[in-house]
Symmetry: C2
Subunit: 216 residues, 2 copies
């Protein structure tokens, strides 16, 4: 567990609900290493655009990828972007509607992305993205061809500037509301995997690999 602090900047210091701020870097890594997709924010023609996409992490670098034809990725390297990963952990049901809330862990990363051109880093970045979504596949599926690599953009964002915010635990009601005849507590929420669905064109005799079956 890294205990290197997150580097506070004006916009990553939480002003509200400060008790929810986490300032150790390991909390950032944990959130990023548990997610499947992020929400990437870019500014296009002066207005924000928020796009769900895959991502991966190597040390203090976050990688996202896309087609070289995607407008949002083409615009990105010249300007700052924001990458947010959120885990919704529960719905907090208080006695008062005003105190309803959610339990969550979220990481927000700011940075000017770097277009990755070094072939080794590009491959490593793609591997990190693949391993995040589909651990084990890098070693079993067909690797990218040079043509496929050329059709793929990989962007790297430093994790230097990031904030982490979490909420956990039960509701916090006003003192006088604890006497109310209202159920209160937390409804846990989590992401779950179903049973793998084989491709109809799967060749007979190929079993579901353990790394996929084991997630279901």
């Amino acid at each position: 567990m890294s205990t290197t602090p997150l580097s506070p900047t004006d916009r990553t210091i939480l002003r509200r609900n400060r008790a929810r701020a986490r300032t150790d870097r390991s909390a950032l890594y944990e959130i990023l290493d548990e997610g499947l997709i992020c929400h990437l924010g870019v500014v296009v023609d002066g207005t924000p655009r928020v796009i769900p996409t895959a991502y991966g992490r190597i040390d203090d670098t976050l990688y996202v990828h896309g087609s070289t034809g995607a407008a949002s990725l083409r615009a990105a390297p010249s300007q700052e972007i924001c990458v947010t990963v959120t885990h919704l952990d529960g719905i907090v049901l208080a006695r008062a509607l005003f105190h309803h809330s959610v339990n969550y862990r979220s990481a927000i990363v700011y940075g000017v992305p770097r277009n990755v051109t070094d072939p080794d880093e590009k491959l490593a970045g793609l591997r990190a993205i693949t391993e995040r979504l589909a651990p084990g596949r890098w070693d079993t599926a067909r690797r990218p061809t040079p043509k496929e690599m050329a059709a793929t953009s990989v962007l790297a964002v430093s994790l230097e500037e990031a904030s982490v915010k979490t909420r956990e635990g039960g509701p916090n009601d006003d003192d006088e509301d604890y006497a109310l005849d209202v159920w209160a507590g937390v409804l846990p929420v989590h992401q779950a995997f179903g049973d793998p669905v084989p491709d109809p064109r799967l060749r007979p005799g190929i079993p579901v690999p353990p790394d996929i079956a084991g997630r279901a």
Copy 2:
């Protein structure tokens, strides 16, 4: 089911993977009415900020709320924002790494938010947000006091300008790769509820209401 088309604007017409675009308004409603949180994009000091938050929908208006003290909400009414709701439905495991993908449904809404000041609309917006996260609670939990209402900002965004993108089904591999000895298919992903956890301070004898127990 509404068959009113989504109104195409330059930025909501998909240029890539057009087969994934949905152009009927009912697809937008379905995605919004199934989500628990959205990712709200705002521009702060010229750079994007992406924040997870609750939301609700009434007809063609989307509502988000927050403390009147939140900087991102204070900045929002003067500028365009982006609201994205994403459902991750599966991890698409192709024979080639290049064709790995995800099944998903996502809605992206653009608009200049309106600060809701009309008391009736403000209450209706809060109710829509509450019902999205915690159906049934509006009728059982304590309603907001005037002081609590004053401490809460509600923003309304028109659903006029929105795009919907979905992917479903199995992998699409290159012809020559179907002969490979690699398992291919989809690993379904869904959001699931756990067993309700009562607040330690819950008064004895209050059972879990059916609307909460029924989701687990």
